[in-house]
């Protein structure tokens, strides 16, 4: 085996299953990208219009939208949310509006794309509406949408408040202050009247919306034996069957069945700690970014049909320039099954992953 072949087979660290593309945060070759230091993408969502919305952070936090329509295929910088801020938890509402939060300060903002459009030579955007802090004196650590009720819930720090946010009235209602030393920065609405999160020592809780009461469940986050006390639930997604997938700060991926109160650990996709982002693909696979800030992010997949957890490698492209992404904090599935990953570095891009198609 030649040295090159050996390297490609046994030493190549970059994603080579499926294919990757990048988009600079601009209309490529027409406008300048969002400047370095303002491009780190911290949250993304798939809008009702099929476009990908992203929120950045850094010297200025921007809201942008990527339009994958073939004759467009560009990013529009909608506007600036604030200075020295980073965005959290972009959510697409049923009416097409986008809601998000920006820290420090837990500032809620919204964007209505109803009248915006873009062509080859022109684009029009609506203004970003800054609503104000969700809970005074608190940062927002998570936002989640109850899709059944079309209601937004959030979690704050340092007061550990679960709040309900009325985006029409621009008002928050604090539902409960969680009395726990260490609440994980994650909240997930399952659409059946419950919110899930985790407390100190990795204890999973269920907040019953109707009862307005927290239940500490017997289920605990998976982790390395002996350091369970430090476990935190970092990311969560729910699939169409109602199964909740989670990722912990120690790098474990798990599934949680609320009906059975059971947690099944699927192990760690890579050696390092951290699960930075999760999404469910159209084919039902779990896709995610593993790693912690300062090391190397890896794209991974988990196939619940055969139990395969796969480290796919470091995202890297050769066109339109050689570029590898080392930091990612958001991932979302596109309308046609593309996996969008938001790079979160000083110079950042939108990565688009096209999973391989299996032979029939």
């Amino acid at each position: 085996m030649s040295a090159t072949t050996r390297y490609r087979e046994c030493g190549f660290p970059f994603v080579r299953e499926g294919s990757l593309a990048i988009r600079e945060l601009c209309h490529y070759n027409v406008s300048k990208p969002i400047p370095p230091g303002e491009t780190a993408i911290f949250s993304m969502c798939l809008g009702k219009d099929g476009r990908i919305y992203g929120g950045t952070g850094g010297e200025k936090a921007h809201l942008f939208v990527y339009d994958p329509f073939p004759t467009n295929d560009h990013v529009i910088d909608i506007g600036i949310i604030g200075k020295e801020k980073y965005t959290v938890g972009l959510i697409p509402l049923e009416n097409g509006k986008i809601i998000g939060a920006a820290n420090p300060g837990g500032i809620i903002f919204s964007y209505d794309p109803a009248d915006d459009y873009s062509l080859l030579w022109k684009y029009e955007c609506a203004p970003i509406k800054i609503h104000g802090p969700a809970v005074e004196g608190n940062a927002v650590t998570a936002l989640t949408l109850d899709k059944t009720a079309n209601l937004i819930y959030g979690l704050t720090l340092p007061d550990n408040c679960i709040f309900l946010y009325d985006h029409e009235k621009r008002e928050s209602e604090i539902l409960i202050k969680i009395d726990s030393k260490c609440v994980s920065p994650m909240l997930l609405a399952d659409g059946t009247g419950s919110l899930f999160g985790a407390l100190a020592d990795g204890i999973i809780f269920r907040y019953d919306i109707q009862e307005k009461r927290i239940y500490n469940l017997p289920a605990r986050l998976p982790g390395t034996k002996g350091s369970d006390f430090a476990n935190k639930w970092e990311k969560a997604v729910i699939n169409k069957k109602g199964v909740i997938y989670g990722g912990t700060n120690s790098g474990y991926v798990f599934s949680f069945d609320p009906a059975k109160n059971s947690v099944i650990s699927h192990g760690k996709p890579i050696r390092d700690d951290g699960i930075r982002a999760l999404c469910v693909g159209k084919e039902g696979k779990l896709w995610g970014i593993a790693g912690i800030r300062g090391l190397m992010s890896h794209l991974f997949s988990y196939n619940q049909n055969n139990g395969e957890m796969k480290d796919l490698g470091i995202p890297c492209v050769g066109f339109p320039k050689p570029w590898a992404g080392y930091e990612f904090d958001s991932i979302v599935t596109g309308r046609d099954g593309q996996i969008y990953m938001g790079e979160s570095d000083r110079i950042s891009h939108l990565f688009i992953y096209y999973p391989p198609v299996t032979e029939a």
Binding site: P13, F14, G37, P322, Y326, R346, I347
Partner: protein, 391 residues
């Protein structure tokens, strides 16, 4: 027959006692008149050495073995401290500062993989170590880890503020290292694998470019990186994403000279003029633009000035024998002095250069076509005599 430089004007220094070391990457002139350089390895696992060469005596001294100094020896499976890249600088208190680098494979291994082993305690690269060598007391000092898990490709010194600025590898971030507190801070990612070069101006501002050749400027007063609109010159119709800053060298007055990577242009840049400085294109390295079907121009390698402000540099497409070129900056004339073939070995790449202008000596760190590293000491008086004699 290809024109060759006058071999009598060149003295080569070899390191045959170091068979595992196949390159020299850094070469500077010390205030004591010696050349200080790094003996490194790229193809095979070995530990880097800081060495010196005294033109007056012809003596080579092995000053620092990085393994001895850091305590990190060669170990099976572990990426070694095999280089000191373009990261040797002397401070005003007569200390040579150096930063280590990676890119040789582990012992008994062909694959050098920094990305895939990143952060691994056993297999991964530990990170770049900073050290100093006092040229008066002749004592080295180990200063610890400058950047965890990453090598350093270029270092420049801010003597006044007692700082070093470093470009890391593989993540390509700009770091600032406080030489007093011995702590580093990541100022942010700059590019991919290209634009690893930096220079410092008289105000302590740090300049580099992104991979596409656009300048950025770090101001230590504001602690901010500013993206400038100034771009390096290149071939008129190319919009290369790889044409970045390479080999900056201080010229006369306020000018910084340098070259561009893939398009092979020389330029001069005045960072003090206007809000972003001004740049002037000095054209391709030896008169010829890159051909339409070529991907990269001949490289301009390690430019160095003589006492009359003539610029000398190596010039060759990759893997072809290097020619020595003289650029008369006053007349804007470039002269190909000929191919560098010494002792039967063609020069393959001039990694770095230094000069003792008052003695009319320039020194190139040469990697030969045979993978044998050497220093080439060139007597410019003899080169000039050859030119006048028409040889």
């Amino acid at each position: 027959m290809e024109k060759a430089i006058n071999n009598k004007a060149v003295q080569a220094v070899y390191f045959r006692d170091y068979p595992d070391h196949d390159c020299i990457w850094a070469c500077i002139r010390g205030s004591d008149g010696r050349f200080y350089f790094s003996l490194c390895s790229e193809g095979k696992a070995a530990l880097a050495h800081l060495m010196s060469y005294d033109c007056r005596t012809g003596k080579v001294e092995d000053l620092v073995d990085i393994g001895d100094l850091s305590g990190e020896r060669l170990r099976e499976g572990k990426l070694p401290q095999s280089k000191i890249h373009l990261a040797l600088c002397e401070s005003s208190d007569k200390k040579i500062y150096g930063a280590t680098h990676v890119t040789a494979p582990p012992p008994n291994e062909d694959i050098m993989e920094v990305f895939g082993t990143y952060g691994h305690p056993d297999r991964g690269y530990s990170g770049s170590y900073l050290f100093s060598y006092d040229i008066v007391s002749k004592k080295p000092e180990f200063m610890g880890l400058a950047i965890p898990f990453e090598g350093v490709r270029r270092m420049v010194l801010d003597d006044k503020r007692k700082r070093a600025y470093l470009i890391s590898y593989p993540k390509h971030c700009l770091y600032v290292y406080d030489l007093v507190k011995r702590k580093s801070r990541n100022l942010g990612r700059i590019g991919m694998l290209g634009a690893f070069d930096l220079f410092i101006d008289n105000l302590g501002r740090i300049f580099g470019t992104n991979d596409a050749g656009y300048f950025y400027r770090y101001d230590p007063e504001s602690d901010k990186i500013q993206n400038l609109s100034i771009k390096l010159p290149g071939h008129p119709w190319r919009n290369s994403p790889y044409n970045f800053l390479w080999y900056p060298v201080r010229g006369k007055g306020d000018w910084i000279y340098g070259t561009t990577y893939y398009d092979g242009h020389l330029f001069q840049y005045n960072p003090y003029e206007g809000s972003e400085g001004i740049i002037e294109d000095l054209g391709p390295g030896c008169g010829k633009e890159i051909d339409d079907n070529h991907w990269a121009a001949a490289y301009i390698q390690s430019p160095v000035f003589d006492k009359d402000w003539n610029l000398y540099y190596g010039y060759a497409p990759i893997w072809e024998p290097v020619h020595l070129v003289k650029f008369d900056t006053k007349r804007n004339e470039k002269v190909d002095l000929g191919a560098v073939n010494i002792d039967g070995y063609n020069a393959a790449f001039f990694a770095d250069s230094a000069a003792i202008p008052e003695e009319n000596i320039i020194c190139f760190a040469d990697i030969t076509m045979n993978g044998i590293p050497r220093l080439l000491l060139i007597d410019l008086k003899k080169i000039q005599e050859s030119l006048h004699a028409g040889k």
